[in-house]
């Protein structure tokens, strides 16, 4: 708990815990609104148009309108659906996405739960999303939903493996599964980031290609895990209507919607932690400190959220079997090669 300024400030258990829980929740809600607006505005920018313009100046409170609308929509549960699972699925999905925020270190002074197995926990909770998706898709009793859920399950499980191997490689470099320790081991200038082989003597340049490839593998895998283009086949609009959430409306759809954006942030944060030095400033001691740490962390994470949105409006969609091919025959072997190289480097360092 020493990494938590609230705990140090108040030092009262229950109030501190509530505050610690609330802070990420508020962050998620605000972030989701920003991300939705970002999605609309970036899409518009890419496509040479303006995007929402009629809600506030430049349409910046558009997401608020969406939320206000979504909470007053009729909440339909189809008669043929499995009602319990159907109603539970979106909340599981959202809980899964939100639980990941428990260990994300926003700055040197704020980690909601500083546990030793942070990386492992994050990885485990990240897989929670497919339970929600498969549940929702199956319970909807809709063929498109079922197809979408099946695709999603196959996709997420396949891409956990290269992502997991990438995590292992970084863990072996850092010698820890604690997220804060991983970040601290990358402190200093930006060439100490694991993207560039981590801290080490000059002949670490031999390992830089492997970490760079690993970074790309991890980026691709996370795109697949969050169902973003070019891997958005679980909700591929042109084929299976809206995929697993075809039958969802109103607030339950909003949960799926929020969870998707929350997941985007989680994986972006993970990339930041593992490869870009988390809350470390890129310029050594310059602009570093608790507040600046949070700034750098959110800036880096938002950059990857932006990359995901950018890719979505640029690339076409892959097909299911191509996705599997890519996962098993390209990413998995390459990630193993990188893992061995990096582990060897970690040994001899």
């Amino acid at each position: 708990m020493e990494h938590n300024f609230i705990y140090n400030l108040i030092n009262s258990d229950i109030v501190a815990i509530i505050a610690i829980i609330l802070l990420p929740l508020i962050f998620v809600l605000i972030y989701a609104l920003i991300a939705i607006l970002g999605e609309l505005k970036i899409a518009s920018f890419v496509q040479e148009r303006l995007g929402p313009m009629r809600t506030g100046p430049w349409g910046i409170i558009q997401p608020v309108a969406e939320v206000v609308k979504l909470i007053q929509k009729e909440d339909i549960t189809p008669a043929a659906a499995d009602k319990k699972l159907f109603n539970l699925a979106p909340y599981i999905m959202f809980v899964g996405a939100f639980a990941a925020f428990a260990v994300i270190p926003f700055g040197p002074a704020f980690v909601p739960a500083d546990i030793n197995l942070g990386l492992f926990y994050l990885f485990a909770v990240g897989a929670f999303a497919i339970i929600g998706i498969v549940m929702g898709g199956w319970a909807s009793n809709n063929k498109y939903s079922l197809l979408g859920a099946m695709r999603s399950a196959a996709q997420i499980i396949s891409y956990e493996i290269p992502a997991g191997v990438a995590l292992l490689a970084i863990a072996s470099l850092a010698g820890s599964l604690n997220l804060n320790e991983i970040i601290e081991s990358q402190s200093g200038w930006f060439w100490n980031w694991y993207l560039f082989g981590g801290d080490g003597p000059i002949w670490k340049i031999f390992v830089i290609p492997f970490t760079l490839i690993l970074f790309i593998i991890f980026l691709v895998s996370t795109l697949a895990e969050t169902n973003r283009t070019p891997f958005d086949i679980p909700e591929g609009e042109s084929e299976i209507v809206a995929g697993y959430h075809t039958e969802y409306s109103g607030i339950k759809f909003a949960m799926f919607f929020f969870a998707e954006y929350a997941n985007m942030f989680v994986v972006s944060a993970l990339i930041t932690i593992l490869f870009l030095g988390g809350w470390n400033s890129p310029f050594g001691d310059f602009m570093s400190g608790p507040i600046w740490g949070a700034f750098w962390f959110i800036l880096k994470a938002f950059f990857f959220v932006f990359v995901q949105i950018w890719l979505r409006w640029t690339l076409p969609r892959l097909r299911v079997d191509q996705l599997m091919y890519m996962g098993w025959k390209v990413l998995v072997p390459f990630s193993f090669v990188c893992f061995f190289a990096i582990a060897f480097w970690a040994m001899v360092k």
Partner: protein
């Protein structure tokens, strides 16, 4: 526009914007309209043009949804045939309340050029589902379509949710008596 425009309303004193909950709800619904595009014929192409960068239908806060469950209003653009009529009714019923229908083009309004000899054409989509806004034209220009969208938004803005509920409750009471 919407809530922010109501600076001249009776609840307003000294720069503070006040409104009723109804205003907020109406504002949300009118500014965030997700549509189900029921593209049927020629009008669908003009609708696509309205959706594209040149006219940018998204400015109004609309987002296309492929699933009727998540849509707020349906755009019926084109000739409705008898074979299609039942499908339109079914999709309309699948949409979540509150829902609206925008009839685009003469064919959907009244049968258009097919009104006389079209043995297989439904003479107006309002024979099977309630329509909120009619847009004339064969096909309507994208500008006409945008005008229709503004009309729909202003219609939503003027809805009286709570009064209607009260009235319905009274009617129910009277019926029970």
């Amino acid at each position: 526009m919407g809530l922010l425009d109501r600076l001249d309303n009776p609840y307003n004193f000294g720069g503070i914007i006040l409104g009723t909950l109804e205003d907020l709800l109406n504002w949300g619904r009118s500014k965030s309209d997700w549509y189900l595009h029921f593209g049927l014929a020629c009008c669908a192409i003009e609708f696509m043009a309205a959706n594209a960068s040149h006219f940018d239908f998204m400015r109004f806060g609309t987002i296309p949804r492929a699933s009727p469950r998540q849509a707020d209003f349906m755009i019926v653009s084109g000739t409705v045939t008898l074979k299609m009529a039942e499908r339109i009714v079914r999709l309309y019923e699948q949409m979540a309340d509150p829902k609206y229908v925008l009839s685009m083009g003469s064919c959907a309004n009244c049968g258009g050029p097919y009104w006389e000899h079209g043995y297989h054409v439904l003479k107006g989509v309002d024979r099977i589902i309630p329509v909120d806004v009619y847009i004339p034209g064969c096909p309507p220009r994208p500008e006409a379509f945008l005008e229709g969208m503004i009309l729909l938004q202003s219609k939503i803005n003027k809805q009286e949710i709570f009064k209607k509920r009260k009235r319905l409750e009274e009617e129910m009471k009277n019926m029970n008596q």
